[in-house]
Symmetry: C2
Subunit: 199 residues, 2 copies
DNA sequence: CAGGTAACTAAGCGCTTGCTTAGTTTCTCT
DNA sequence: AGAGAAACTAAGCAAGCGCTTAGTTACCTG
C-alpha cells in the first residue's frame, strides 16, 4: 500500500477508487481534483485509474449515479414503512437527513457536482432527482387530501423540506458533535411543523 | 468591445471583471473557470485581468467579500424595519430570499465557492457568515422570549431557515417563471410556520 | 506448467493553466 | 504641447493537467 493511500486498503480497487474520488470531489470539487489525487488516494499510480474508468468524468458519473440511486432507495423504503402521511414524512425526513450526515462526502458529490457531468450523464441523474422530488410531493399531497397536513402549495413545501435536508451536506462537518440520529430527529420535527401536522 | 464580452460594456473595467467573474464562477465553479474566460467576458486580453487584480483568488475574494457584505447589510436593514420579531422574521426571510434570486450568480459564489479562498481570506468571510447566523438567531430568541414564537431549539431553527433561503441559489434558474417577490413571499410564509407564529 | 488475460506501472505527450514580461497606447495634468 | 502615469496587449514561460503507450507483473485456466 502506497504511503499516500487514504481509503480502506482491504476494499476492491474499484471501491477504493470510488472512495478516494468521493473524498476528493467532496473536499475540493470535481475540477480542483486531479486524477493523480484520486490514484494516490487509492494507492495506485496515476495510470491505474484508467484500468477501471475511462475518464475522470466517468468516475464522477458512477459515483453520482450510485449515490442518487441509494438516496432514492432510502426514500422509497422510508415511505413504505409508514402507514400514514405523517409517519411517512417523519421517517423520510429523518432517514434522508441521516444519510446526508453519514454519507456527507457522497452527498456533496450528489448535490453539488452533478453539473460537471456530460449532458447525457447529467440528464440521467436529473431524472433520478425529479423522482425524489415527486416522492416527497406525493406524501404531502396525500397528507393534504386526508386532512392531516395543511400547506399552501405542495411543490413549494416539498422544495423547502428537501432544502433543509440537502443543505446538511453543505454545513455538516465530522467535527460536529451531534449524532446523525439527533440531526435526523430535529429535521423530522421541523418537517412536521412546516406541514402543520401533529397538533 | 471584444465580440466575446458578456458584461455591461458601459461599466468600469473593474466592475466588468467582477461581473464576468461572478457569471463564470457561478456557472462553472472557481477552478473550472480560467482567467482567459474572465478576461474575454470583460472584453480584455488575458493579461488585462492582472492590471486590476493580483490573482484569480484575489478576484474571488473581492467578489465573495462584497457579496457577503451586501447580504449582511440587507439582513440588518430588514431587521431594523420591523418592530416585532414576527415582522422582522417575515421581512428578513422575504428580502434574503429575493436577494438570492435576483443576485443568484453572486449568491452562488457566496454560498458555494468560499472554500477555495486562501485560509486568511476564508477566515474573513467566515466571520461575516457567523454574523448573519447570529442575526437570525437573535430574532428567533426575541420572539421566543416575548412568547410569539415557539421553537424547540433556536440554533437548529435558524439553520433550517437559512437553509431554505440559501438553497434558492442552488435550484434557481432564470428560466423559472416565478418572480423574486413571489418566491420571497413563499419563503417568508414558510418561515412563520416553522416558528409557530401567526395563529 | 505453459499460455492467455487482466491489473498495474514508468515514462511521457500534447495541451491548458495562472501568471509575467516587455512594450504600446491612452489618459491626465501642468 | 509634452511629460509621466496608468491601462492595456502580444507573446510566451514554467508547471500541471488528463490521458496514452509500451512494457511488466500477477493471476487464472486447462
Amino acid at each position: 500500500m502506497s504511503p499516500t493511500a487514504t481509503s480502506d486498503p482491504d476494499a476492491s480497487t474499484v471501491d477504493r477508487l470510488m472512495q478516494a474520488a468521493a473524498q476528493a470531489f467532496a473536499e475540493k470539487g470535481f475540477h480542483a481534483t486531479t486524477t493523480r489525487d484520486i490514484a494516490s488516494g487509492a494507492g495506485l499510480s496515476p495510470a491505474g485509474v484508467y484500468v477501471h474508468f475511462g475518464s475522470k468524468e466517468e468516475l464522477l458519473f458512477n459515483l453520482s449515479r450510485s449515490g442518487h440511486e441509494s438516496a432514492l432507495r432510502l426514500l422509497r423504503r422510508a415511505i413504505s414503512e409508514g402507514s400514514t402521511p405523517t409517519e411517512q414524512l417523519e421517517t423520510l425526513m429523518a432517514r434522508f437527513t441521516e444519510w446526508h450526515v453519514e454519507q456527507y462526502q457522497v452527498a456533496r458529490v450528489v448535490q453539488y457536482e452533478h453539473h460537471h457531468l456530460t449532458p447525457e450523464h447529467h440528464a440521467e441523474v436529473l431524472a433520478l432527482r425529479k423522482e425524489m422530488d415527486s416522492l416527497v410531493r406525493d406524501v404531502l399531497d396525500r397528507g393534504v387530501a386526508d386532512g392531516t397536513f395543511s400547506v399552501d402549495d405542495s411543490a413549494d413545501t416539498a422544495l423547502a423540506l428537501l432544502s433543509i435536508a440537502v443543505d446538511v451536506a453543505r454545513w455538516y462537518s465530522p467535527t460536529i458533535k451531534r449524532t446523525p440520529t439527533e440531526i435526523g430527529a430535529t429535521n423530522a420535527a421541523l418537517a412536521l411543523r412546516l406541514v402543520g401536522a401533529g397538533r
